[in-house]
Subunit: 258 residues, 4 copies
């Protein structure tokens, strides 16, 4: 195609290639999701359908962007991990982040009706994203541990808070009751006042969701009617602990050396 | 909330604050929209509904992000302009780009059914985004001129190409017929062979769409039944020439000095 | 030359090209010059020889790097201004900053003996440098105003401080005497106690030094003995006010529009 | 001190903090040293005094900047390595690079007379600098291997080239004679035509210089006349191979895991 005399303006574009051989984490966060979850009447402290929709979106992103080797999500956030040697889009930061955040958002609106068949989506939700580089395996693992500990701390607090509110306390009374309490006191409060054993709550609420690719057996029926089993890599949603060594030992293809 | 020992990983986040007092353009582009428009049977060379949906999304983005003073769109791309003194999100680049691309995408899926009531959206579409800084008014205007000239060049070519294809030529025959032709030859071809006067085609196809905020009179009926007229700033979609001085003289609030 | 298998490590080099069409200021600062000036017994509050050496170095840098259009210096710092359209080293930031700081340092050691023939240089002095971009003329002018106001504020304070110390006060008594005083009080103190009219002090001390290129007449004697006058651009050291408009009106080739 | 209304211009300064926990290499290069070495009549292909002056400067830089754990030099270049956890100047890139390049330059001019007592320094030499990050030990080692292989390739070529020129060939005849030759052919040429066994040439020429800190015994005489031996860390200049594992095994404090 012909070029115009204005084409020089491309020279103002910045080169934002990320350092090679470094773990890349792209985290997306719900924008204004406090209001969004109120208006869409999400269950408190956890809405299983909303979390399942988040997981569905993350799986879709992983199926589209093959350089993502792991995703970890909780609440209205999801972290996507690209391997150290990832060369996606020449490692251009804005291109990678904007593509992932757009894909996630698109899936969220697209699949909403599958997870909330009775609730209409009232307005278009949005997410923001960021990229962070981690040069060493231990920094990268600590990043994921940070998010999973955050999930635990928030969920324990929210479980107590909403139990108190549902039991008749005002929101500020609930806040005051919890101020300064440590984990063991919150566990005790749940058990003694509400007969809730925190450790029996669903793992998705307590640990978040981690998605990795695993080889599984897939059965298909051939034209001649014979059933055959083939190996296929699929994105699996787990609710495992990713802080300890066990997870990383069991998944050596992630490339983290223990 | 309690902090964990893993919190140090935040130190790896990069500061990506953009240079102050500089025009900021965020351009989003459809990802794989050649295939997307084929699969959704968009009309060639222009699908009015698809363009109107793009414009609707851009208006929604502007209604959400008040720092955007102008948007220009054509085909599957849209450029959003933030004023030189914009302080949105502390001018953090990735935050700004990811938010705009997410909002645009969300609106695209959300409003699809309004523009294509007969066509189901087959899969979630996505966009990527980038930010470019322009320090001087003339560089910034040249950026927009570059996009509008691009719109013209592509549209003239595509109008010829699809006229030839619809008339019975194969796609490669049409390509060969157009190879090396200049604008006047393409105009002549449209007129002599297809009785199409290119300049009579819809302005949206030839010039794209430019959205700015304008003060308009809004009529409202008060409680006592009286009708009052108030001034209100709304985002208006125009199909004007933005290359010449006229547009910029007529819209001095954009802050471009002629 | 042959290439080695290790050459891939060049891919880790970052692209640090600066935004085009933007004023570029490189400021160098003496490193540990408080100790350096003590050990070399610089006169207080101003050492004329030390300032002249700084100016000599700045002129040398400008004679080497032709993209520098103006330099401003005071105390142990110097700012070098490169025009908006400067394409030096492809506008690579580290290359530009490191070259300027190295040239300045080299000249400082090289020409020391010319300015301090009686004092031996005791150890190698050093400077650090930084680059700052200014997109608009007024931001760029405000940068220089900031440095010249800083020169004035520091010099007025130091003139009072050393006058008090030389008159017999201890350094902490002098500090206490000056704490909280405003400009007019410091001027009054100098005049009433020490008969110093601040405005009669050398302009280099009060305003710093600004270096620009000016066309001057240069006389040369030809082979045949005839004397001819030619125009030549040379770097001139001035001690002018660069805060007001006058300087910029008188030097339109600097490209700042008033 | 009082602040001025111009102080806002500091907001235009960019944050250039380097990624944590990553090897940082700062390489300085002589600027125009081809001409510089000609004008100062450096011996060809290697001038021992010039190389010793480079080494002296590098030791001085290391004695000043304690975060540097290793330096490697050859010809008119020197690379300084800062440990992964280095927090010097908050890891600000321009501050680190400009300080190192300034210190090196200053020492070069300052100590010139010690290495060239008979030759006056004709004009101030200068260097430029750059910073490169290496996230993994093997990338970092490959960087140093790249520079040492470069030293070997250049030195072998230059040794042949100057032997031919000294023997009476023109420079272009020497170039033609060497074009396309491989290492073994150059070794053979040196031995058969000039009786030079390349491997017997000084190691500094063939391998460059590597400087690390080592604990050595230092003898001091106390006031009472007794001689005592103390351990002290000093910067030692070696001419070792740094490509193989041996060097890294023998110097475990460098923190490279074999």
């Amino acid at each position: 195609m012909a070029k115009s005399k204005y084409e020089y303006v491309k020279q103002f574009e910045k080169n934002d290639v990320l350092l090679p051989n470094t773990w890349l984490v792209v985290r997306i966060d719900g924008r204004g999701f406090h209001k969004f979850s109120d208006q869409h009447k999400f269950k408190k402290p956890n809405d299983q359908d909303a979390l399942n929709l988040m997981n569905k979106c993350a799986v879709s992103v992983m199926n589209d962007i093959h350089d993502i080797v792991l995703a970890y999500g909780q609440s209205d956030e999801y972290s996507f991990v690209l391997k150290k040697d990832c060369a996606l889009y020449g490692r251009r930061e804005t291109k990678i982040v904007s593509t992932i955040v757009s894909l996630f958002t698109s899936n969220y609106v697209f699949y909403w009706k599958n997870y909330f068949p009775q609730k209409e989506l009232l307005y278009p939700p949005s997410f923001d994203g960021r990229a962070v580089l981690y040069p060493a395996d231990n920094n990268f693992r600590d990043y994921l541990s940070w998010r999973q500990v955050d999930c635990h701390i928030n969920n324990l607090y929210n479980t107590c808070f909403w139990a108190l509110v549902i039991s008749g306390k005002t929101e500020s009374e609930a806040e005051n009751a919890l101020r300064g309490t440590i984990s063991s006191e919150k566990n005790e409060l749940l058990f003694s006042q509400f007969k809730i054993n925190y450790n029996n709550l669903p793992e998705m609420f307590r640990k978040g969701s981690v998605i990795i690719r695993k080889e599984v057996d897939v059965k298909t029926t051939c034209e001649n009617g014979m059933e055959v089993t083939r190996k296929k890599k699929v994105a699996l949603i787990l609710h495992d602990d990713i802080i300890g060594d066990k997870f990383w030992k069991e998944n050596p293809t992630l490339g983290v050396i223990i």
